[in-house]
Amino acid sequence: MWTLQVFTLEMRKIFSYRIDFWTQFIAYIVVWVGISYFLWSSIFAQKGIDSIGDYSFHALMLYYLITASVAKIIRGQDIGQISREIYQGELSRYLVYPIPFFLYKFVCHLAHSFMYFIQLIFAIVFFACVFGLPVEITITYDRVLMCFLFLLLSCYLHFSIAAVIEIVSFWADNVWSLLVMLRFISGLLGGALLPLVLFPEWAQKILYTLPFPYLISFSSEIFLNKVTYAQTYKATFIVFAWSVFFNIIFAVVWKKGLRQYSGVGI
């Protein structure tokens, strides 16, 4: 299986700079959850409340921890990989391989996601050991499994969207800013900045038909027992629909782009 080969090769590459990998992750989680802690503890204290949008303070912190990690998981590899390869003419290398480019890149992407996933598990275990789990949350196997499967879907959906943006670089010099834009939008609308229940009713209604909530917050919501089975099925369907939509766009744009590409720098 070439997919397995590619996956393990990519893993080995990641391992070669693992120190960076871990320190960056820890710094990121500590700073991000830390700032959220100060922000929300000031709001909780000021209002004298013990829950907001049915999140206790404890659960809210766990929510930030998970969404921060999930944001890393779905983004996987450094953004701009594919566009860089197109821009620098390295794409030709992949085109001669007898395997579909999209799938090849997705497998590479998954290897990175997997590393972040391991970090997420460590982060949750660490959190549970130091602060304990919020009382209202009991972890069941089926929920963890569902969370994991949904994460895979999130990865695929994000990759599908990002891939479409990346291949815009067939025509534009630098699509880096577009990818950063995706990061900003998925940060807010995906629920990494704030739990989506805090948004106004009307906004939530629109939001849940868009792909963004399913990128970041939904898997955390599954883990924290905030969604029902029925909602999960519906979410799965929406993710599929959006993925197909973006895959079709990719196929069309890719075909046009390749014609345009004509092997720069060969």
């Binding site: 990121y28 700032i35 100060f38 922000l39 503890s41 630098n174 699509v175 807010l188």
Partner: protein
């Protein structure tokens, strides 16, 4: 001094003629930053659906604060960002050599030589947001306080640059600045949050050694609250100290660079 000013005019000219070439990217970057602004405003709008004050500020005040850090972001993207992005790469490739043989401060040259002309549009947008935020403020504001506020926000940009540079300077020893750079980018979030939410040791750190709170929060404090000379002095003295530390660190690291290279 005038020579440095004229040098800077050259950098400006270069960047504009360069920016004319990459049309699509020019546009993308403007849109990207606009999204950043919109998202930050939306974030605080949503927060204030659930609370009436945050770190001691009401929604109107928070909007002025948001406008301030948007302005800092736009300014630093325009003046410094590109340069600091290249800086670790230059050090690693040994490209500092040509800067060292010129009779001009290498720190100046490396920090400002690439002016991001496309981000300049965002500065205007950020100024627009600032005008909107200040004009929709319901209490009267004294004109000199507004002026002081704007000046201190510009000073905040300078602090932002200095802190970033101090984080990156480690590249002279580690040969990879990625860790430092990403740590800085995460920590940067602190300057986008009101200083009132931080307390204890954390607050001390963010108002002294890592003066993120002095970039926008303290200037905003001077605008809303009674004028306190101590706050103003706190900002100015910290800025000056940081500047000396940066100058010293630069000298020190150039020595390391020169001793290590061959």
């Amino acid at each position: 001094m005038t020579r440095y000013f004229r040098l800077y005019l050259h950098f400006l000219r270069f960047s504009f003629s360069k920016a004319m070439e990459f049309r699509v990217d020019f546009f993308f970057r403007i849109v990207m930053d606009c999204f950043f602004y919109a998202i930050n405003i939306a974030f605080y709008q949503v927060l204030f659906l659930h609370t009436s004050t945050l770190g001691g500020w009401n929604e109107e005040q928070a909007m002025i604060f948001v406008a301030a850090y948007i302005l800092v972001d736009a300014l630093q993207m325009t003046i410094f960002s590109t340069n600091l992005w290249w800086f670790p790469i230059f050090v690693n490739r040994g490209d500092l050599d040509y800067y060292l043989v010129r009779p001009v401060s290498s720190l100046f040259f490396l920090s400002v030589r690439e002016f991001a002309a496309n981000s300049l549009c965002n500065v205007f947008i950020a100024i627009g947001i600032m005008i909107w935020a200040i004009s929709s403020y319901s209490q009267p504001l004294i004109w000199w306080k507004i002026l002081l506020f704007v000046l201190l926000v510009v000073n905040g940009t300078f602090i932002y640059y200095m802190v970033h540079m101090l984080f990156l300077i480690g590249v002279f020893w580690t040969h990879s600045a990625r860790g430092f750079d990403s740590l800085f980018r995460h920590l940067c979030l602190v300057h986008e949050r009101p200083d009132g939410i931080f307390h204890g040791a954390t607050r001390t750190v963010f108002t002294t050694v890592l003066p993120f709170c002095l970039m926008c929060s303290f200037p905003a404090r001077l605008l809303f609250e009674d004028f306190q000379l101590s706050v103003l002095l706190h900002i100015l003295i910290t800025t000056m100290l940081m500047f000396f530390v940066l100058r010293w660190a630069w000298k020190f690291s150039l020595k390391a660079y020169s001793s290590a290279s061959s």
